[in-house]
Amino acid sequence: MTANLTKQKTSTKLKDLVKKPQILTGGHRLCAGCGAPIAVRQMLLGVPDNVKLVVANPTGCLEVSTTIYPYTSWNTSYIHCAFENAAATLSGVETAYKSLKEQGKIKEDYRFIAFGGDGGTYDIGLQSLSGALERGHRLIYVCYNNEAYMNTGIQRSGATPMGSWTTTSPHGNSSSGKKENRKDLTAIAAAHNIPYVAQASISHWKDLVRKAQKAFAADGPVFINVLSPCHRGWRFPMENTVEIARLAVQSCAWPLFEVENGKWKLTTKVPKKIPVGEYLKHQGRFAHLFKEENKDVLALLQENVDAEWEKLLQLCGEAE
């Protein structure tokens, strides 16, 4: 469980990565400009050669858009069971593999990966995820985090940032959007003391692919939280998905780090931290925060981002 994941010999050079097989194939029905398939494809660039893969989804955008019967976009084995149980379902698949492999009924090496949205991961699927992490299954759980329930039409989740408009946290005369801070799910996952936990963003593909490679090398549970903007829910032009994700990293609203065998490490430093407003102002979900009556909320958001960033720097041994 304490293998040094950093020393795995894998390449993140584009000329090598382009030779990787396409596991999530084209032709799926996700929106143009959706962050989710970018997160999936970048993660799957980390699949080692010569291993087989089983993918699991909870119910969500990714599931309904990639498996419209009788078609499937998955060029590998795939299972969807329900909304809150991708981790438990995949833990059953992984256990069956261990049992059948031990009996000599399966020869190949398999890896197991789940991709869940933040609704299915932060909220309704948290118990199932925590159980699977605690039981030590060799599986990877990736949250493609778009900070709200997008499949049902943009409702607030435990991942939605404070101040954000959603259809269930609308702003109005007596509200300036979501009142509560999002929960820190990456830290919650790290508290399970599993081999590898990371936070990533689709804007930093090299960082993400390196984390994916470590994830597939880990001999135990892995959790990776990938910021995957949704232009429909966040209200920005569809061609800006990756750029918005980059601003989240540059403003430290979404820091990139990893926790490898308990050791916290900042994987992308931010020498020139931009104000959080520079990230928020491009998104319709935060437009109301730039009105005079909501300037306190915007200031509070900046305070929270600063405090969380300082805390992270301390955990990573980077504090001044």
Partner: protein, 419 residues
């Protein structure tokens, strides 16, 4: 201590009580119902068990965990954090081509509810003993059938057990029924909480080799771990898809189950001397009126019915074994020409004086008969309320009155209710 150690050391019992005295391949032991189930699970030796403790099922999980710890089974056990995850993991493991079992009771079964439909909809032959216990509120740990009746439309085969022996026998047969290529449906084996699960009874355990041969290997039609044929399981089926056709195929599988359950019951009779069908009849051929019951209550009722028959009273009894699929046609044929039937239900439907679930379905089954028997319903034993001989005698008296007078005084009756 694991039950298996006791069983392995126990003496072979030469004396047989089954209806085929020539079979001598088992040993009789005195064990509680939960150990009868875990003993069946040991012999089935599933690839994966995913389970979560709940009274009164807990003893099954405990004794099976010990079997795993002692290396007496090849099973990989997933000790999940909830029943919801137990059934989720079972679904994942079954879709991965392994033989999977779990077990539960009451709230645990209720917590699995959405997944029960997914297990049957994905046609996964998971076998699950359910130790019947009342559903909250008020919270109550004792027996009634409200838990499994809540799952009656979930697409699972449901088989009731009268005693620990039947819980053992049914668990073994359930594997064969579930995995039959014409079925591929999950099966729930039902045994009454405490009355069966925690009472010590004489149980004949069939020799390991014979059980292994009877159970056989699982050959899944699809598997997530078949690398040559990757599959997408649980895909999205929308307005222009095949949802309706899938559901109709599930019903076809249930129709096929009638024959398969009878065939497996017959084959099981050949190795055990205990033959099983969809239901068991006592004196129904020459009866004028009859009782229909299921679970442990059938034992007490049979005792009274046989006593009355010995005194020349034309009463019969049907012990319903298979509740899903519901053997409507066969029951109607058996009950045709009778003057009256009394149906015992250990759960209520709260449908507004419609009676219990077995009553509603049995009465519907009788509708097309030219000469329908009168039908009376007795709801009894909710939350473990005792079903005494006196209460059954009261019901029998009313049944006889109805048969003789041609009139039912009250259709739905609550037996043993404090009023």
């Amino acid at each position: 201590m694991a039950i298996s150690n006791k069983l392995i050391n126990s003496q072979t019992n030469k004396e047989k009580t089954g209806n085929d005295k020539t079979i001598n391949n088992s040993k009789a032991v005195a064990i509680v119902g939960t150990d009868a189930v875990s003993e069946a699970m040991r012999q089935i030796n599933p690839d994966v068990v995913a389970a979560y403790p709940i009274t009164p099922q807990t003893a099954i999980v405990e004794s099976f965990s010990q079997l795993v710890a002692d290396g007496l089974v090849k099973t990989h056990m997933v000790t999940v954090e909830s029943e919801h995850s137990a059934m989720s993991a079972a679904i994942g493991a079954s879709a991965a081509g392994s033989r999977v079992m779990t077990c539960t009771s009451s709230q645990g079964l209720a917590y699995m509810w959405e997944l029960l439909y997914i297990a049957s909809g994905l046609r996964l032959p998971i076998v699950m003993p359910n130790v019947n216990r009342a559903l909250s509120a008020p919270i109550n740990i004792h027996c009634d059938h409200s838990d499994s009746m809540g799952a009656r439309d979930a697409g699972w085969i449901q088989i009731f057990s009268e005693n620990a022996q039947e819980a053992y026998d049914n668990t073994l047969q359930a594997i064969r029924i579930a995995e039959n290529p014409d079925i591929l449906l999950p099966v729930m084996v039902l045994l009454d909480g405490f009355i069966i699960s925690h009472a010590i009874e004489r149980v004949e355990i069939i020799d390991n080799d014979i059980v292994s041969k009877f159970v056989g290997d699982f050959n899944p039609p699809y598997s997530l771990l078949d690398s040559q044929n990757p599959v997408s399981v649980g895909t999205f089926d929308s307005l222009y898809g095949y949802f309706f056709e899938f559901k109709r195929q599930q019903e076809e599988a249930m129709l096929n189950a009638f024959k398969v359950i009878k065939d497996v019951g017959k084959e099981f009779g050949e190795i055990s001397g205990r033959h099983y069908g969809l239901f068991e009849s006592v004196g129904i051929e020459d009866a004028e009126f009859a009782i229909i019951a299921t679970g442990s209550a059938a034992g007490t009722i049979r005792h009274l019915v046989e006593d009355m028959r010995s005194r020349g009273i034309p009463i019969g009894m049907i012990k319903l074994r298979v509740y899903r699929p519901f053997p409507a046609k066969e029951l109607a044929e058996a009950l045709s020409g009778l003057k009256a039937v009394a149906v015992f239900d250990r759960s209520d439907t709260f449908a507004g004086n419609m009676g219990g679930p077995i009553f509603i379905e049995l009465r519907s089954s009788l509708y097309d008969l030219q000469q329908r028997p009168l039908a009376i319903n007795y709801i009894y034993g909710l939350g473990g309320r005792d079903l005494s001989i006196e209460l059954i005698e009261k019901a029998l008296g009313e049944l006889i009155d109805a048969a003789r007078s041609g009139q039912v005084k009250q259709t739905v009756n609550y037996l043993g209710l404090r009023e």
